[in-house]
């Protein structure tokens, strides 16, 4: 037997995790450092004439979407959890489906529905001779933006509060009922307060999604941080001003995250007992049942059915023109980058999660936190950071090539490496969360059993750990894959010349007022995302109950 020095155990997992975390942090550090560089004229101009607009637009959209998604998300979650009514089992996961529609697709679809040539106005005009004043149906406004974000982002609140309600002991609700409160009172005085943490957490995700968005605000012509960053970067090639904007946006993100922490506070209500009895759903009858059904159907209709049917109609109109070789290349592009990035994310997440679960130290906790933080950073910021780093690397390589006398070329800035790296930084948290949960469920005993049987930690990792959390690994892969398939701002900024994905092509068509041509690509995205959502929330849910 060989003795090892006690304090000199080199931990490969720790080193790998540390290295990966540095790579993730780097682009953010680039923004942070450049934010403090001296300002140029452009930035002074932006600060004087634009910044106030940008901030007020952003704040308005954030606050009102936040309120609307909270009301819709929690009320739906509550109705679904405590009542039985027609089609409840369908709505249970059907109400999550709007997540399959990226908000920018929803935005141009709704614009297509309500504008002058759209189905509503055309029908009214042609069949009923009714003309509508265009100012009443202008969806391309702050209100319209809030409407779109609410419809397609409320499922985040719905999913998280629903699982919170389901895991709550029924006795709380029953007690509140026994004490003489009616349903409304129970909802507002008991349910909302105790689910505060879940609601705040999910609304924070909604807000981060809004801040990250480029497609909706660009299409609707609303000036926000991201559109301004795109403008300064693309149209004006003003990197300094882009850095300033990105830095300011980072501050907004940090404020949101801090607010979340403060509001949530220590009030993470959960039960220490494992005997959590689920709430028994009450059968609704008559008018009340119809009311519950209508409410769910209304939201489902607006947030999924209507845009879906409209897209279907457009796709039928245009598919002969669209479905050609070019479209297949789009599909291939989208699937390849998404698959490559998702595989890499799963591998990185496995390494970090395995490290943090075995070594529960201060250092590992920080690593775990940073991994999750990546998701809070808007794609455009990550893109700028990545571009800056890769351009510098490229210049260095160019110089090295020249020095050694070989034919120099800029390799990185024209390749997919930039895009894939950016995807990894942005979506690592999604894969990590899933895999970490998988490890948590399995526990550490199998790993310990394997090591006491003489297998090294690496051998254990492949022979025991990975097979045991196979489900979580596949789940993480699918979630990341779908997220990347829907991704817009990062891809727009970083896709190499002559390379498009389904999402960026759909957006370009829509932006060029070729809305019906955008439908096929959009539908394919929605279809794949929809299948994954169905799989996750219907199949997995069943599995857990059985």
């Amino acid at each position: 037997m060989k003795l090892q020095r006690r304090n000199q155990q080199i931990n490969v997992w720790a080193i790998l995790s540390f290295f990966l975390i540095i790579v993730i942090l780097l682009p953010n550090l680039v923004i942070g450092v450049n934010f403090f560089a001296p300002a140029n004229d452009n930035w002074e101009h932006i600060k004087e004439y634009l910044l106030l607009d940008i901030i007020s637009n952003t704040v308005l959209i954030l606050i009102f979407t936040g309120i609307a998604t909270t009301l819709i998300g929690t009320s739906l979650a509550w109705i679904i959890t405590v009542y039985k009514f027609p089609l409840r089992n369908f709505f249970k996961w059907g109400l999550i489906l709007p997540l399959a529609i990226p908000p920018f697709i929803g935005a141009y679809t709704y614009h297509g529905i309500v504008n002058y040539t759209g189905i509503i106005q055309a029908t009214l005009r042609n069949s009923f001779d009714i003309f509508i004043d265009q100012k009443y149906v202008n969806i391309m406004s702050i209100e319209g933006t809030i409407f779109i974000f609410t419809l397609f982002l409320y499922p985040y609140v719905y999913v998280m509060t629903k699982s919170f309600f389901e895991n709550q002991s029924a006795s709380l609700v029953e007690n509140a009922r026994l004490l003489g409160g009616n349903s409304w009172e129970v909802f507002f005085r008991v349910i909302l307060p105790i689910s505060r943490a879940a609601i705040i957490g999910s609304v924070t995700i909604v807000m981060l999604e809004i801040i990250n968005d480029y497609g909706v605000v660009k299409y609707f012509g609303i000036q926000t941080f991201i559109t301004a960053i795109f403008q300064t970067w693309f149209a004006m090639s003003d990197i300094e001003a882009a850095f300033k904007l990105a830095g300011t946006l980072m501050i907004v993100v940090i404020i949101i995250l801090l607010l979340e922490k403060i509001i949530r506070g220590r009030k993470r209500f959960s039960y220490s007992t494992t005997k959590v009895r689920p709430i028994q759903a009450k059968q609704l009858k008559g008018k009340k049942a119809w009311f519950a059904f209508s409410y769910c159907f209304l939201i489902f209709g607006f947030a999924f059915l209507i845009p879906f049917l409209q897209l279907l109609q457009w796709a039928v109109m245009t598919y002969e023109k669209i479905l050609n070789w070019d479209f297949l290349i789009l599909v291939k592009n989208s699937f390849t980058v998404a698959a490559i990035a998702a595989i890499l994310i799963v591998i990185i997440a496995l390494i970090i999660a395995n490290y943090t679960r075995i070594h529960q130290t201060f250092f590992s906790k920080i690593i775990s936190r940073i991994t999750i933080l990546g998701y809070s950073i808007p794609g455009a910021i990550i893109a700028i950071g990545i571009i800056t780093i890769f351009l510098a690397l490229d210049d260095m390589m160019y110089a090295a090539f020249t020095f050694f006398g070989s034919d120099p070329a800029f390799i990185l800035r024209t390749s997919l490496i930039m895009l894939v790296s950016a995807y990894i930084i942005r979506f690592l948290a999604v894969g990590y969360n899933n895999i970490e949960a998988g490890f948590e469920k399995v526990g550490n005993t199998f790993t310990e059993a394997s090591t006491t049987l003489g297998t090294s930690s690496l051998g254990t990792f492949f022979k025991v750990d990975i097979p045991l959390i196979k489900g979580a690994i596949i789940g993480g892969f699918i979630l990341v894959f779908v997220d990347i398939l829907k991704e817009l701002p990062l891809t727009m900024l970083l896709q190499p010349f002559n390379f498009s994905t389904l999402a960026t092509r759909a957006f370009r068509y829509a932006n060029d007022e070729m809305i019906s041509e955008a439908a096929s690509a959009s539908l394919l995205i929605i279809f794949i995302s929809g299948i994954c959502i169905f799989f996750f929330h219907k199949v997995l849910d069943k599995g857990e109950q059985g």
Binding site: F446, S450, T451, T452, L453, G454, K463
Partner: protein
């Protein structure tokens, strides 16, 4: 002495008081020792320290003349050769009984591995179950497979963490007699951890009674189980 444990100290990161205080024990080859104590007395921690799953603050452990840990050095669990049977058995659910038992066998030809497997299956009397998966076995069968798996690589020391806590009471009696006879037949040195005095009495050559991480008494079962503090503990 075959096993020498000296002045073991252990403290969890978030606690103010050490979980294990000054734990010393020596064992002869082939001896069966039971560590008896209430839950929370730190008895399972001692096993984890022996197996190398936790690192002690101070103290030393030697087995068969080999130093496996002291203040300066530490042999990781996969190189220690200390076998462990876990409370919930931890049989790998994605492997059959045969693959589970063969898991710890290294540096052997295929034929040798197969031979060892057959030996183990015979020992636990489960030859016809070798192609089953753990979830297809009863609790008692699972436990026997866990024992065979831990025994197969011929560890220098075998430790058991509350091995009967997941079994029905009547099964428990049958299994622990069986277990003792298997252990005595193989001549393996082993340590059990339990809170059940009847278990301790049947299994042990000697009993170590611990309270709050400190050894209160060591001795043969008749001597220890008669003492006053234990009686009080049993009645409380």
């Amino acid at each position: 002495m075959y096993v020498q444990i000296k002045n073991l100290q252990y403290q969890y990161k978030n606690s103010t008081e050490p979980t294990i205080k000054d734990f010393s024990l020596t064992m002869e080859k082939g001896e069966i020792v039971t560590i008896l104590g209430e839950s929370g007395s730190g008895k399972s921690t001692i096993l984890r320290l022996l197996a190398g799953l936790e690192t002690a603050k101070s103290g030393s452990i030697s087995i068969d003349g080999n130093r496996i840990m002291d203040d300066k050095s530490f042999i990781p669990p996969d190189k220690r050769g200390v076998g462990m049977v876990f409370q919930d058995y931890a049989l790998f659910p994605h492997m059959t009984v045969a693959t589970n038992i063969k898991y710890g066998l290294r540096k052997m030809s295929r034929r040798q591995k197969h031979q060892r497997l057959e030996e183990m299956l015979e020992l636990i009397n489960m030859t016809e179950y070798k192609d089953r998966y753990p979830y297809e076995l009863s609790g008692g069968q699972q436990q026997r497979v866990a024992l065979a798996r831990a025994l197969a690589p011929a560890p220098s020391l075998l430790v058991f963490d509350e091995p009967f806590s997941n079994l029905d009471a009547n099964l428990q009696v049958k299994i622990r007699d069986e277990l003792r006879s298997i252990l005595k037949r193989t001549g393996i040195t082993s340590i059990f951890v339990t809170h059940d005095q009847a278990d301790a009495k049947v299994l042990a050559d000697r009993i170590v009674f611990i309270e709050n991480g400190r050894i209160q008494r060591i001795g043969p079962p008749d001597e220890i189980l008669g003492c006053a503090s234990l009686l009080m503990w049993a009645n409380s």
